[in-house]
């Protein structure tokens, strides 16, 4: 049952072949069995999930009209506030905090009857690409437990790829949905900026953050996308427009006559051989399905990484100022006679990890007087150039493509002491965030040299998210015919802990 797709599970629920309680229990059992190895979850809310499942079953029994994925369980990245459930953003500074409110994404999930099983591990405050920066220890890639599942939404990607959950929510500031999806052989979408409300999403970099769906298929991902997207008056940056028809696009999956642009700057040098090979094959496959492949030039992408590592740290240095030991979260150093100022500093030292501190200091520097124009100001101008490059490219092509990440999953600990090497892994995903457009990663096969999943990235203009699903579904279907079975069936079986 747990290896079905979310769409199949929803179908079985609708037909009465199973109940949400049974389905949820099966996944909770799977979590209990394998999560000691994968460590995808920071908190499993069995009681809450089963109560929610029972409620959906009761509503279904009464004949209420339910959403397409009502009763299907899900794993929620710990960056989203859920009322009464521990929410830490992977940081020690929020250990034990239980929000008195629901994020809009959680409200929408609850309204749709999607069962939230628990909170998944992540790089602290979403800063990282490997989940190793979690304050609570790393998550392990189900394909190879010595490797990272990517990040920052590595808990969510690992949960879906290890069949602990059919669906998951992540957040993507510089690639944090697409890159872990790529590294674990699943589908992940970063929707257009403003398509999914950020209310209740613990902010890393406000102008780049966006929550989005994970699934094992393009259709599953679309079903979840449709549930969480939509305008929200509580988020001033939320787009007030209808949600693109992503589910319909995922069902139609057609690239005939579609112009697909390959970004010159995002391939070749620096990309692992097996990654480039799978990417090229996928392109040929798309061409064979009737797509027209063109090459597009985005020269300013060379500077995207530099701009990102100024903008995101700058915004985070301000966003994370609220973690100060005064109103919630950790408080340390509160000894007799200690001042509020001293307690703040001590708590922020004890509560934040190294990467978070590094980025706060970098951001503080980039915004400080005398340096603002040279760093933050210049980065914002690069951002304009990247938007212009995309605009030109989208005149030539309907969607743009690239490998999602330059490499397959790397070993845990491999890059932990080399921040620059880690940052380079985001080179292909970051331009999407800077421009506020949408992107998808879907599995393109395994690299020959290490038999690890490779991600294929599709990008589309703002609020044209349906194009991702249309192209993605076509490629997925062609690859599936070629492989004969879903890619995940090639993943090694996880040995149970029992």
């Amino acid at each position: 049952m747990i290896t079905s797709t979310a769409a199949q599970m929803a179908d079985a629920l609708a037909k009465g072949e199973t109940t949400s309680v049974q389905l949820t229990q099966a996944h909770l059992d799977r979590i209990a069995e394998v999560d000691v190895q994968v460590k995808a979850f920071l908190h499993v809310d069995s009681e809450g999930a089963l109560a929610q499942a029972a409620d959906v079953d009761a509503r279904r029994a009464k004949g209420e009209k339910l959403s397409a994925i009502a009763g299907v369980p899900l794993a929620l990245k710990d960056v989203l506030a859920q009322k009464g459930v521990p929410t830490t953003a992977g940081s020690k500074i929020l250990q034990g905090w239980r929000p008195p409110y629901d994020s809009t994404v959680v409200t929408k999930l609850k309204d749709a009857g999607v069962v939230i099983m628990g909170k998944t591990n992540m790089d602290e405050f979403a800063m990282g690409s490997s989940t190793e920066n979690s304050g609570y220890g790393p998550t392990f890639n189900p394909w190879d437990l010595t490797r990272t599942p990517g990040g920052s939404s590595g808990g969510s990607s690992a949960a879906v790829s290890s069949f602990e959950a059919p669906l998951a929510i992540g957040s993507d500031t510089g690639g944090s949905i697409r890159q872990p999806a790529a590294l674990t052989g699943i589908v992940g979408v970063r929707p257009t900026y403003g398509a999914v409300s950020r209310y209740g999403l613990i902010a890393y970099s406000s102008s780049l953050d966006q929550a989005g769906p994970f699934g094992r298929t393009v259709l599953d991902t679309a079903l979840l996308h449709e549930v969480i997207a939509g305008h929200d008056a509580k988020d001033a940056t939320s787009i007030n427009a209808p949600v693109p028809a992503v589910v319909a696009a995922a069902k139609s999956g057609n690239v005939k006559g579609m112009k697909i642009g390959v970004i010159k700057q995002l391939q070749g040098e620096g990309y692992q051989k097996g990654v480039q090979t799978r990417f090229d094959e996928s392109l040929q496959l798309l061409a064979s399905l009737g797509a027209e492949i063109v090459e597009v030039d985005c020269p300013s992408f060379e500077y995207a990484l530099a701009a990102y590592y100024l903008i995101a740290p700058s915004e985070c240095s301000s966003n994370l100022a609220r973690f100060d030991a005064m109103r919630y979260g950790l408080r340390t150093g509160d000894v007799e006679g200690a001042s509020a100022e001293a307690v703040m500093s001590a708590t922020r030292d004890a509560g934040f990890g190294r990467e978070v501190k590094r980025r706060i200091i970098l951001g503080t520097y980039a915004l400080s007087s005398g340096y603002y124009d040279a760093y933050y100001g210049s980065a914002q101008k690069i951002r304009t150039l990247i938007i212009q490059d995309y605009a030109k490219a989208f005149v030539q092509a309907d969607v743009l493509v690239s490998p999602t990440a330059p490499t397959t999953a790397y070993k845990i600990g491999e890059k932990v002491d080399d921040p620059m090497a880690m940052y380079l892994g985001d080179v292909a995903t970051i331009p999407v965030n800077l421009a506020g457009i949408c992107g998808m990663s879907l599995p393109a096969g395994l690299a020959d040299e290490d038999k690890l999943p490779v991600g294929f990235q599709i990008m589309a203009p703002a609020m044209q998210d349906q194009r991702l699903y249309q192209a993605g579904a076509a490629l997925e279907s062609a690859l599936l015919s070629k492989w004969g079975a879903p890619l995940l069936s090639q993943a090694p079986a996880l040995k149970g802990a029992k």
Partner: protein, 99 residues
Amino acid sequence: MSSLSRDDVAKLAGLARIEMTESELVELSSQFGMILDAVARVQEMDLSGVKATSHPQPLENVARPDVVLPSLSPEDALSGAPAQEESRFRVPQILGEAE
């Protein structure tokens, strides 16, 4: 080669209210040369005449009506407080004056 001295990092840590040990200060300042060189690439391009983008979507004038909605209960508001007293957040003595 850009760099930040140990004292520069200490000053930034002060602004960011993070107490740092000597070894943390030294480690960060040693990493910053490389990081700053990488991010300083934004200055390589000729950016004269380029407008800054601080926001990816061209939204304007998003506001809400002046309507009161229920607040949190004081219990919920204070539910995360490390310390509280008389329905207020209790914090250690404050040294500096308010702005």
